[in-house]
């Protein structure tokens, strides 16, 4: 047993996995435990993978606990809490020799060594079987020497709003029961918690924030002045719709669940036309339905913010899992030629910031702006220090119109003509999905057609100039450059930290289209470039090659529906470097 602990120590963190059926309350354990551990002074990371069903199946949550910031999943499991028979099977490929499994031995039916804790029996002693989860929270809190007082206070707050007093009291009993059980395991030398010397608590962490990607996108939308969202529920994008609905009253947001995605995007465009700042949130299949609307935004030069949370396709694919497979969809969606921006946040802070940027740019350039996330981003959280509220009033790119107002006045800088709003000023605001003249009225005059095409596409100039520069993490004198985009940022970063090679760096793109012209210099300086993407065809590598002419031959791709694991990825990067021996 002592050896187990020393192995964990090497890893600098503890990786806990809870696994069971949908409906067994794993999410509650995750939510409570991470908050209690953070309040106790730890850095935590949590992510989940789950099946597309409401009850049954096999789902798991990974919680990593550390005394340093930690923001990526690993394959390794140090401590497994299996809640049903299937659980051990479900994660069998990730069980090392030194794993600690704690659970109801008789329920599990396994030949693995299990430290027996009868969660169910203890729960029934308190009153109800449902308390078993809270006992598990208490147990883990105890094993990690978390703060039971903080746990008690937190639990009380958590339940008081919705539950009866007796229920709250019983839950606190359950928490304490689990905590005592942890003490028993320690006293009986079954788990030696005193030997987690690397886990130091810090009072700095207490005020950190814990929020997932869906909440960060929602908060970013509010900070960006969003006051209209129309969408149709679709995993994994629905979290953003739910979040904005929860706070719609506080921030005066119109939230409409449309009859379909076609209606949703057309409503959002109508809302911008009438002066709102509107967005849609959707996933691949839903976005496919929106593509004609996207083209409408391109033609009438309407601002639009599209949050596209990717999941594996084609068609229904794996509805609750993750992939970066819709970059090309976002890139080429919509008929005809018109400018667009595609942003891809790499972490919680970027999700919050880029959402604001999306609204700003959409309004400024009168174009659609995408925020491309994925299921992994939506469902993942870890300590972050702060999110800053914008200090200035939202900048609006709207004019008060005069009698002679023309919506598509030619001759403006970089194709921009001032955008008016019906009812604001004396002018008439006309927009037309047909090719149109300066007034916005239908035309088939070919010289106007040419000028309007050129006007719409003249925006590219400014978009390219303002494109966000990719961020370089690691040495500037790199020989090997790993290239990633969107949600893989921290995973690749941890993989590189693990490899600890002085000549490697990570180039992370938070804007994938158009890319900053500076990108080419970063790429040219590398001896070997490794592209890492959560898809089958290396969509971003293809895009980079198209935009820079640099072809990336080393690719690490994953498309099984799960995110990369930092430990596995480190091994893969090592293999790729060895295979290629310094070739681009």
């Amino acid at each position: 047993m002592k050896k187990v602990i020393s192995q964990i120590t090497l890893e600098q963190d503890i990786s806990i996995v809870l696994c069971g059926e949908a409906g067994q309350g794993i999410q509650t354990v995750e939510q409570l435990l991470t908050r209690m551990l953070k309040l106790s002074g730890y850095y935590v990371f949590a992510t989940k993978e789950y099946m597309s069903r409401v009850r049954g199946g096999s789902n798991s949550t990974q919680i990593r606990v550390s005394s340093k910031p930690i923001q990526a999943p690993v394959s390794r499991i140090d401590l497994l809490i299996p809640l049903d028979k299937e659980a051990i099977n479900h994660v069998s490929s990730r069980l090392g020799e030194r794993i600690i499994i704690i659970g109801d031995q008789e329920k599990l039916d396994t030949d693995k060594k299990v430290i027996n804790v009868s969660f169910l029996k203890m729960a029934q002693e308190i009153g109800k079987a449902i308390y078993a989860n809270i006992i598990a929270v208490g147990l883990l809190l105890g094993l990690l020497e978390g703060d039971i007082k903080a746990g008690r206070v937190f639990l009380k707050d958590y339940f008081t709003q919705k539950k009866k007093e007796e229920f709250v009291a019983d839950n606190i009993k359950a928490l304490e029961r689990g905590y005592q059980e942890a003490k028993r395991l320690i006293e009986e030398n079954l788990v030696q918690v005193g030997s987690f010397p690397h886990l130091k608590k810090s009072s700095k962490v207490e005020n950190n924030l814990l929020l997932n990607g869906a909440e960060a996108i929602g908060l970013g939308a509010i900070a960006g002045g969003c006051n209209f969202i129309s969408s149709y529920p679709m995993s994994p994008s629905t979290g953003v719709l739910v979040f904005l609905a929860q706070y719609a009253h506080d921030f005066n947001i119109i939230v409409e669940q449309a009859e379909d995605e076609i209606s949703a995007i057309n409503m959002a465009i109508g809302a911008w036309y009438a002066g709102a700042r509107a967005m849609v949130t959707t996933s691949g299949g839903g976005f496919s339905l929106m593509t004609e609307g996207l083209s409408l935004a391109g033609m009438i030069e309407s601002p639009l913010v599209i949050h596209l949370a990717q999941r594996p396709g084609p068609a229904t694919g794996l509805p609750t899992r993750t992939e970066q497979g819709d970059l090309h969809l976002a890139l080429y969606a919509g008929h005809g030629e018109f400018p667009r921006i595609i942003l891809a946040p790499g972490n919680i802070e970027e999700a919050y910031q880029l959402m604001q940027k999306a609204f700003y740019w959409a309004d400024q350039f009168q174009i659609p702006v995408f925020i491309l996330t994925d299921q992994y981003t939506m469902d993942t959280y870890y300590n972050i220090e702060r999110l800053s509220v914008p200090q200035e009033e939202t900048v609006r790119f709207i004019i008060k119109t005069d009698y002679d107002y023309q919506r598509y006045k030619l001759g403006g800088k970089d194709g921009l003509s001032p955008r008016g709003i019906p009812g604001f000023g004396e002018g008439l605001v006309r927009v037309d999905s047909d090719e149109h003249d300066e007034m916005g009225l239908i035309t088939e005059d070919m010289s106007i057609r040419n000028r309007m095409v050129e006007k719409r596409n003249a925006k590219w100039h400014q978009l390219k100039k303002e494109a966000l520069i990719p961020t370089l993490t690691g040495t500037k004198d790199y020989r090997v450059l790993c290239v990633g985009w969107g949600s893989t940022y921290y995973i690749i970063k941890e993989a590189l930290d693990r490899l600890d090679k002085p000549d490697m760096a990570l180039l992370h793109f938070q804007q994938v289209y158009p890319i900053s012209e500076t990108s080419i210099d970063f790429l040219k300086r590398a001896k070997q470039i490794i592209s890492i993407e959560n898809n089958y065809s290396g969509q971003f590598s293809q895009l980079l090659e198209m935009q820079t002419g640099i072809s990336i031959r080393s690719r690490i791709l994953k498309y099984d529906g799960l995110p990369f694991y930092a430990d596995e990825l480190a091994e893969e990067i090592k293999d790729v470097i060895e295979e290629n021996g310094g070739q681009k």
Binding site: F251, I253, E256, A264, A274, G275, A278, L387, R396, G423
Partner: protein, 289 residues
């Protein structure tokens, strides 16, 4: 009558792209007349349309225009009204646009009950795509696509709207200009969703349902109680001679905009609203726990 004021709503310098004798001219005229008689200013009116010959109507009107996608007039119209309830919003298009391509939006807009007027030019045929069947074409109607004649039953938009308890349901024939103006005025004044299905001949592609056919096959409802939904449904399902006029009205229904809390708490237009930054600060802080 403010016939001279109708000029305010005419778009100068553009000639309609319709066939001579098209029913759309009469509907355009009726709408201009109705807007003038309601003493509206062009700046107060937004006409949202889809695609088709009927959907070109706002091109010839001196008002705000949102000429969007085929079948998709109702969603942006709903959003525009929701974001600025001070505007008079009209969604306009043909039978293919509104009952075919946009059929789903038709159903769900009725459920929402936004305060907008829904004008559907119904000539029972596709014009812009040159003469195919529409959702309201009669069975047996032969076209280059429906070579053996239409085999599906037509949509009865009036009965459908009444079945969904739409708050205002009317039908007219553009050949009855005066009544059409009155019905459009009542529809615009009605607080809530108002459907006006407008029969019109297509002089080029529909040789069955001609101007004369509509004259012979329609009559105006008399002594009908517009608040009696069952009676309205019965009248809407009559065959042979088709009734015109207001079938059903339900004025007391709350509108979509009235139900939105955004307009209950603040009255300022959307474009001048600012973010509640203190509340955002508080909300972010809640994520410490």
């Amino acid at each position: 009558m403010k016939e001279k004021d109708a000029i305010n709503f005419k778009q100068k310098g553009i000639k309609p792209a319709w066939c001579p004798g098209c029913g759309n001219f009469l509907i355009l005229k009726a709408l201009q007349q109705a807007l003038a008689e309601l003493s509206l200013k062009p700046q107060q009116v937004v006409v949202v349309s889809g695609i088709g010959q009927a959907a070109k109507t706002p091109q010839y009107l001196n008002v705000h225009m949102f000429n969007g996608l085929h079948g998709r007039a109702l969603p942006p119209a709903t959003a525009i009204k929701a974001c600025n309830p001070l505007l008079t919003v009209i969604a306009e298009g043909g039978d293919g646009d509104m009952y075919g391509e946009g059929g789903n939006h038709f159903l769900h807009t009725i459920r929402r009950n936004p305060d907008l007027t829904h004008l559907v030019h119904n000539n029972m045929v596709y014009g812009l795509t040159k003469g195919q069947a529409s959702p309201t074409s009669e069975p047996g109607f032969k076209t280059p696509v429906q070579v053996d004649g239409v085999i599906s039953e037509p949509i009865n938009p009036v009965a459908l709207a009444i079945s969904l308890d739409a708050s205002f349901v009317a039908r007219t024939f553009c050949g009855n200009l005066e009544q059409t103006v009155e019905i459009i005025k009542k529809a615009i004044r009605h607080p809530g969703y108002a459907l006006v299905d407008i029969f019109q001949p297509c002089v080029t592609f529909n040789k069955i349902n001609t101007f004369k056919w509509f004259q012979e096959h329609t009559y105006f409802l008399e002594g009908h109680d517009v608040h009696d939904r069952n009676q309205a449904f019965l009248r809407a399902t009559e065959t042979g001679k088709l009734p015109l006029g207001i079938f059903y009205q339900h004025e007391k229904k709350k509108t979509f905009e009235q139900k939105l809390t955004v307009h209950q708490e603040q009255k300022t237009p959307f474009l001048s609203r600012s973010i509640n930054r203190e509340r955002l600060e508080e909300l972010i802080k809640t994520r410490q726990f």
